[in-house]
């Protein structure tokens, strides 16, 4: 299988002013790439550009993606779950309520630990549960690429850890790639196969995360990332 | 605490308000008439300060319809009112203690149609609409009397009535929209009949079966029985009517200014056959018996 998307010397920004400059990146199938950087550096801009949301412009460079690439997205905000739809209807939004879809959605909800919430309305759910509904909704689209914008950013530490583990499990089960933006460096290392660090003035670097590396290696990577962000 | 404060404020406001709106000045005679040439003697009294000359303190009010006059008299805001016979009868029927103390006007009322196809009341169809000043007005009663005589059902047109003031009625009649007829009084009858193709469907006296008084003056019973003011009123009315007859030129001048009409038109209306002023009262009994039989007077229900 070919790469899902590829950028060469890509510059993005608003009203002619570049936020991201000269980005070269490639995303392989079934790869988990996390993006970190300081606030305002353009992490979300990059993600939204890839999602096709038209609020920023491509200023220069090349961007190519696999034709017909199936994408889905999970946002940071709890508001992404429609309060007037039950959990099941949220997951099925825009999809026909066929038997196939119903069976699939129930499986996905079970996978995300939401089976008993199928008919619940969102205002009765916790923040973590709402984000899992959003993930379930994205999974229903059978995405080849799942874009995630700080999905656990609003959660408390415990809930975040639990959801991170769940996400990694989901990632391994479904054949897809994930591009996840976060400001949490630990989360980036914990989840990603590769970490993209965005720095000022278009500087960027990739770090490989070795799943088999011990705690020490990971701590070293974390320290390196912290150091890079500070300079 | 705050609630008590508000209640006190409200009570104060109520007191102030009722204090202003109903001054209990015993001396002042409050008189209400309506707009139109049929009330011309009252205009003469007003303009020539004839009551004031007899050192009677008066206050004039002009109201839009008989219901308003009736309600104001019931509420104690008015002492004397001028209206048609039927509204008076309705009030008395419902237990108002008031009495007629004078007649004022007889007039040629008439039902005018704007369609050549409507020549008499048998031609009126269910979808036709008829303008009257109000249900229960003398115009409505005359229509019902004719309907009973000709068609055997007094109430047959009751759900086809539209209520409007005379000038508005004339305007919609001219517009030839969804209104086909207007039961009105001079000068509007004459103005309507001057339009091309408009016809007189029913004449008031023809409907009534003889002459009748159009406008009467009423006051509370106690006032009529022992009130000095009422006697002066009666006297002055007679004088005013006599004055109009003796000084037609002056009367025309005064009234044309008062009603903002041309002197020529005023002369036509006043000296023609349409309006006759006089203090006698005609037709009261016939109105009363018709209205009771047809169910427009029902009496007060006993408890």
């Amino acid at each position: 299988m070919s790469v899902l998307l590829n950028t060469e010397n890509l510059s993005l920004g608003y009203q002619g002013e570049a936020l991201i400059e000269g980005l070269d990146m490639t995303l392989e199938p079934q790869e988990f790439l996390t993006v970190v950087g300081l606030t305002g550096i353009g992490k979300s801009t990059l993600l939204r550009f890839m999602a096709g949301l038209q609020d920023q412009e491509q200023i220069g460079g090349q961007f190519t993606e696999k034709t017909g690439l199936r994408k889905a997205m999970v946002f940071q905000d709890y508001e992404q779950i429609f309060p007037w739809k039950t959990v099941l209807d949220n997951v099925l939004v825009g999809l026909e309520k066929s038997t196939v879809h119903l069976t699939e959605s129930k499986e996905i909800l079970m996978e995300l630990g939401l089976s008993d919430k199928e008919n619940a309305y969102p205002h009765t759910l916790s923040g973590g549960q709402k984000q899992r509904v959003a993930i379930a909704r994205a999974l229903m689209r059978k995405p080849e690429l799942l874009l995630m914008d700080e999905p656990f950013g609003n959660l408390d530490y415990q809930t975040r850890r639990r959801n991170q583990k769940l996400l990694r499990k989901v990632f391994e089960k479904h054949a897809m790639s994930i591009l996840l933006v976060t400001h949490d460096l630990e989360e980036a290392i914990e989840l990603g196969d590769r970490v993209l660090l965005l720095k000022q003035a278009g500087e960027h670097r990739f770090y490989d995360v070795d799943d088999n590396a011990g705690r020490e290696a990971r701590t070293r990577l974390l320290e390196e990332l912290i150091f890079e962000l500070d300079t | 605490m705050r609630l008590r404060y508000i209640v006190v404020m409200l009570l104060t406001a109520c007191l102030l308000y009722s204090g202003c709106s109903r001054p209990a000045d015993e001396g002042v005679l409050k008189i209400a008439d309506q707009y139109g040439l049929a009330y011309a003697p009252l205009a003469v009294i007003k303009e020539r300060s004839m009551l004031e000359d007899k050192s009677l303190e008066v206050e004039w009010v002009q109201l839009g319809n008989a219901s308003a006059i009736r309600e104001a008299m019931l509420a104690g805001d008015l002492d004397v009112g001028f209206m048609g016979i039927p509204p008076y009868l309705i009030g008395r029927d419902k237990g108002m203690e008031w009495q007629v103390f004078t007649g004022l006007t007889s007039a040629k009322l008439g039902l005018v149609s704007n369609l050549s196809s409507i020549g008499n009341i048998e031609d009126i169809e269910v979808h036709h609409r008829i303008v009257v000043p109000q249900p229960g007005s003398i115009q409505h009663m005359l229509l019902s009397m004719a309907a009973e005589r000709t068609l055997g059902d007094a109430a047959i047109f009751d759900s086809q009535l539209v209520s409007m003031k005379h000038p508005d009625g004339l305007q919609v009649l001219r517009a030839k929209g969804d209104i086909q007829m207007h039961f009105t009084s001079p000068p509007y009858v004459n103005m309507a009949l001057a339009e091309e193709g408009f016809r007189l469907v029913l004449d008031g006296e023809e409907a009534f079966g003889g002459p009748f008084t159009f406008i009467i003056g009423v006051a509370s019973k106690s006032m009529v029985e022992n009130g000095q003011g009422i006697e002066i009123m009666q006297e002055t009315l007679t004088e005013a009517i006599e004055w109009m007859q003796r000084n037609p030129d002056e009367a025309v001048k005064l009234l044309s200014a008062y009603y903002d009409l041309s002197e020529e038109d005023t002369r036509d209306y006043l000296l023609g056959e349409q309006l006759r002023f006089g203090t006698e009262i005609e037709g009261m009994g016939a109105f009363e018996s018709f209205m009771s039989e047809a169910g427009y007077l029902t009496g007060i229900e006993e408890k």
Binding site: F82, P83, V93 | A75, I90, P135, V162, Y296, K303
Partner: protein, 255 residues
């Protein structure tokens, strides 16, 4: 429901107070009839008279006016939310027309639409369309931008966007608009009829009040007012509360 019971209790107290004033004889019985007279009138008017028809007629007319007004409001809001000349036009129209009471327009409306049922419907539509449009617009404006992003990312159809997202999302606003619209339509209808008397076959409640006034049937007049009050309570305390319970309260969206 609790609110309904409370309102009823207050109503009973007021009725008691009424009877006390009647018995005190401060006001003449012609203008201040007893409670039993009023109740008897109510029974007679509903049973033998056309009050039932007039009530139905009133409701039917108001509902048609509301429906037309709602459709117009939706159209207006769709234009309003576009940028440019049309949006400015709608904006101006709303600010000019909204504060105008329908009754004030009546003399003009009569010239344009005659005095039939049409003119009442036009007046009701005028009374309801502006508050509906304003609320609907506010609801759409208050819709979180994230809904549009979701619609884009998940390629939702226009129909889904409108019916499953924009509509329920602005429902709290729409409902408060409908409440205002209902109250205004109700007033416009009664006021209009009280000015003309009969409109249509039997007319509506305004016609009823008008006729009872001119024939000085005060108990029946009060019976009519009672019907109007009860209708108001039914719609506001029962119907709208019922709708809210099944929608925005169930969804945790009530403002």
């Amino acid at each position: 429901m609790k609110r309904f019971v409370r309102h009823m209790a207050v109503g009973l107290v007021l009725i008691g107070l009424w009877q006390v004033i009647y018995l005190s004889g401060v006001y003449p019985a012609v203008s201040f009839p007893s409670v039993t007279q009023v109740v008897r009138s109510l029974v007679i008017e509903l049973g033998e008279g056309v009050l039932g028809w007039q009530l139905l007629n009133t409701l039917r007319t108001i509902l048609s006016g509301l429906l037309i007004g709602l459709l117009l409001a939706v159209l207006l809001v769709l234009l309003w939310r576009r940028k440019g000349f049309l949006a400015d036009l709608v904006q101006t129209l709303v600010s000019v027309a909204h504060p105008l009471p329908g009754v004030a327009l009546l003399p003009l409306l009569i010239l344009w639409f005659g005095v039939g049922e049409r003119v009442i419907i036009v007046m009701i539509v005028h009374s309801v369309v502006w508050p509906l449009a304003i609320n609907l617009k506010a609801g759409m404006d208050a819709m979180p931008d994230i809904y549009n992003q979701i619609a884009h990312v998940f390629s939702l159809s226009w129909k889904t966007r409108m019916l499953e997202i924009a509509l329920p999302s602005s429902l709290p606003y729409l409902l408060s608009g409908l409440k205002t619209a209902w109250a205004r339509a109700w007033r416009a209808m009664i006021a209009g009829e009280m000015i003309f008397g009969v409109i249509g076959e039997h007319g509506g409640l305004g016609t009823y009040l008008f006729q009872k006034r001119v024939f000085m049937d005060t108990p029946a007049l009060l019976a009519g007012l009672l019907i109007i009050t009860v209708m108001g309570i039914l719609v506001e305390d029962i119907f709208f509360v019922w709708v809210e319970k099944r929608t925005i309260r169930k969804w945790g969206m009530s403002r």
